[in-house]
């Protein structure tokens, strides 16, 4: 079992004092994700899918319930321990790529390994391997501004792969891409999944979700459907 959410709720408070409003972003979620799955989380904006991703990615904590990651209870991890666990276990891919603009593709891919405390030579080797895995070995010395949108997202995926994470968490990874690049990125995720990598993609595009084998649909903080496709 890769990840298991048991009765997870998340309540946000916005505003202060009397006008404070509690917003329930997640309501009593139960979700189990096996290793090697390719899962898409779908839903309209405000459905709670981003919150779910943040909790799965240890960027946020549940207000209630339990979260087991690789069999370990990570519900109440301390900040530093959560950071270390993210670094070793979770590979994020964001809609806006989030590459450092002044660093080369290679340096960008090395970044998570810097926080792992790896020596330069090892970092470099792993980053080069990761770039090769996404087909960008020849763009290692390019700055993000010299790359196309699809290439930028592939660098971001390489950055996640360099961590050798237990799961890839992608938040609208094709949101900033044209159709061709979107399919190129999703094919890359499919390929990685076939090699055994667990992939979770949050999206509102059915075409993108179509690449996944399991689709979880959310609405108003609840899971309303959980289908596995053939």
């Amino acid at each position: 079992m890769l990840a298991e959410l048991k009765g997870v709720s998340k309540v946000y408070r916005s505003g202060t004092g009397r006008r404070a409003v509690a917003v329930e972003a997640l309501k009593d979620i139960d979700l189990a994700i096996e290793e090697g799955e390719f899962l898409a989380v779908m839903g309209p904006s405000g459905s709670g899918k981003s919150t779910l991703l943040h909790i799965l990615g240890l960027l946020d904590r549940p207000s209630q319930g339990k979260y087991l990651l690789l069999g370990r209870d990570v519900t109440e991890l301390e900040e530093a321990e959560a950071a270390r666990t993210r670094n070793r276990t979770i590979g994020f891919v964001f809609q806006a790529f989030f590459l450092l603009p002044r660093a080369t593709a290679l340096k960008n891919v090395e970044l998570p390994l810097v926080y792992r405390g790896l020596a330069k030579s090892r970092r470099r080797r792993r980053a080069e391997e990761a770039l090769a895995a996404v087909g960008l070995a020849d763009r290692a010395d390019h700055l993000p501004s010299e790359l196309s949108g699809g290439q930028k997202q592939r660098v971001a995926i390489a950055r996640a792969l360099a961590q050798d994470p237990a799961v890839l968490l992608a938040d609208e990874p094709t949101g900033n891409l044209d159709t061709a690049s979107s399919h190129e990125i999703m094919r890359l995720f499919s390929g990685l999944n076939r090699e055994g990598r667990t992939v979770i993609v949050v999206t509102h595009e059915p075409e993108v979700a179509g690449y996944a084998r399991r689709i979880v649909r959310m609405r108003d903080g609840r899971i309303v459907a959980d289908e596995t496709q053939r």
């Binding site: 943040h54 270390r84 994020f92 998570p112």
Partner: protein, 401 residues
């Protein structure tokens, strides 16, 4: 994260905004420049003051009777002079008097009359003749009515005219009557720092004062100056003098002073001056530090998304804090280096241009202090921005536009 990586990251961030980095540094540069320059200037000035003092007083020890209200004043005699001649120094006896003379328009001028030995400039290298000559040992012996004026006395009594060969009537007051002396020479002004401190002085043979002033008895002296050679420890010499007079007259009858005492006083004044100047530097460092804090806060805001990304990729709050602290410290340290270089340059030019500043002093202690202070400024003023960065919530930070 490795410390070397932290430094590298900090440098990359600083190099990304070279102009802004430089501008934000200016406050620290000026602060460190001020501290360094002023502390060094203090050291250079102390050196100048010391040299000026030695020029004026030489390497001297002065002995005078101590003023005691309940006892008649002690008067030195020829035996005392002999006593001192055993010490490794030249002994100059002094007889003091005061008198009034009239200038050409008949206005009274108060004078300090110094009874000294003949050929005085040979004993005191600080005294140089401007015109004429000093009276001789032979003139001393026969108590000749001759006098030498210092520049101030010459100016007050004769303005620009040469006083050589003129006679001067000294009125000692108190029924002593008047006495005439012939002016045989004038001295040059003292050089250096203390030139302005001289009073209106007339040198005469002390034997002449013995004869002419009723209350000065023949054979009495009012003070001795001991001129020590280069290798002699002035403090030790002063101690020996004190001891000799203690054995002769009992405790506390004489006052012994040496230049070292003045030097100590001046050191104290210089120290106070340096503290004041250092305070001004500290103030500019404070302003510079606030500038650094400001630019770091701007930097944190600008790089909110980057911070969010780094956290998502596994940076702990502590690592983010460390990174920004290092960044602030490297920033101010660079400012410190620039400030020290600037100070060295300005001091060098100043020493070259101003004769009073004789040597260029920039002690390693001062440099180390300046750099330490600049690093501490960065560390101190970096704490708040670094903390702001460390506390950013990664989700919020990644959403930041």
């Amino acid at each position: 994260m490795r410390l070397s990586d932290s430094f590298e990251t900090a440098l990359e961030a600083l190099m990304a905004h070279k102009l802004r980095t430089f501008l934000s540094l200016l406050g620290v540069v000026i602060g460190v420049f001020a501290v360094t320059a002023l502390v060094s200037l203090g050291e250079i000035a102390t050196y100048g003051i010391k040299k000026g003092l030695e020029q004026v007083a030489g390497r001297s020890v002065f002995v005078q009777p101590r003023f005691q209200p309940d006892r008649p004043p002690l008067k030195f005699r020829e035996e005392d002079r002999k006593l001192l001649s055993a010490l490794p120094a030249k002994v100059i006896p002094y007889v003091f008097a005061s008198a009034t003379a009239r200038d050409e328009r008949g206005k009274p001028v108060d004078l300090r009359v110094l009874g000294v030995p003949g050929d005085f400039p040979k004993l005191d290298p600080g005294i140089e003749m401007a015109e004429g000559r000093f009276f001789t040992a032979a003139e001393l012996k026969r108590a000749a009515p001759v006098a030498v004026l210092n520049p101030l006395a010459k100016k007050r009594l004769f303005q620009r005219k040469t006083p050589l060969g003129h006679s001067l009537t000294l009125d000692f007051g108190g029924g002593a009557g008047r006495a005439r002396v012939v002016i045989v020479g004038t001295t040059k002004p003292l050089t250096g720092l203390f030139a302005g401190l001289q009073s209106v002085q007339v040198y005469v043979p002390y034997t002449w004062l013995w004869q002419r002033v009723p209350w000065i008895r023949p054979g009495e002296f009012h003070a001795f100056e001991l001129k020590a050679g280069p290798g002699v420890d002035l403090n030790a010499l002063a101690k020996r003098v004190e001891r000799l007079f203690e054995l002769r007259y009992g405790e506390d009858r004489v006052e012994v002073q040496n230049v070292a005492v003045f030097t100590e006083t001046l050191k104290g004044i210089t120290l106070a001056l340096q503290a004041l100047l250092g305070g001004i530097g500290a103030l500019s460092l404070l302003v510079g530090g606030i500038g650094i804090m400001n630019i770091m806060l701007v930097s944190v805001t600008e790089r909110t998304r980057e911070i969010g990304l780094r956290k998502a990729l596994g940076a702990t709050a502590g690592e983010i804090r460390t990174q920004f602290l290092i960044e602030a410290t490297v920033l101010t340290l660079v400012g410190g280096v620039l400030g020290v270089v600037l100070a060295a340059l300005v001091l060098y030019l100043l020493v070259a241009a101003v004769p009073f500043f004789e040597v260029f002093i920039l002690s390693p202690k001062t440099v180390a202090l300046a750099l330490l202070v600049s690093a501490l400024v960065g560390l101190f003023f970096g704490v708040w921005p670094a903390d702001q960065a460390a506390r950013l919530d990664p989700i919020e930070a990644l959403r930041h536009e």
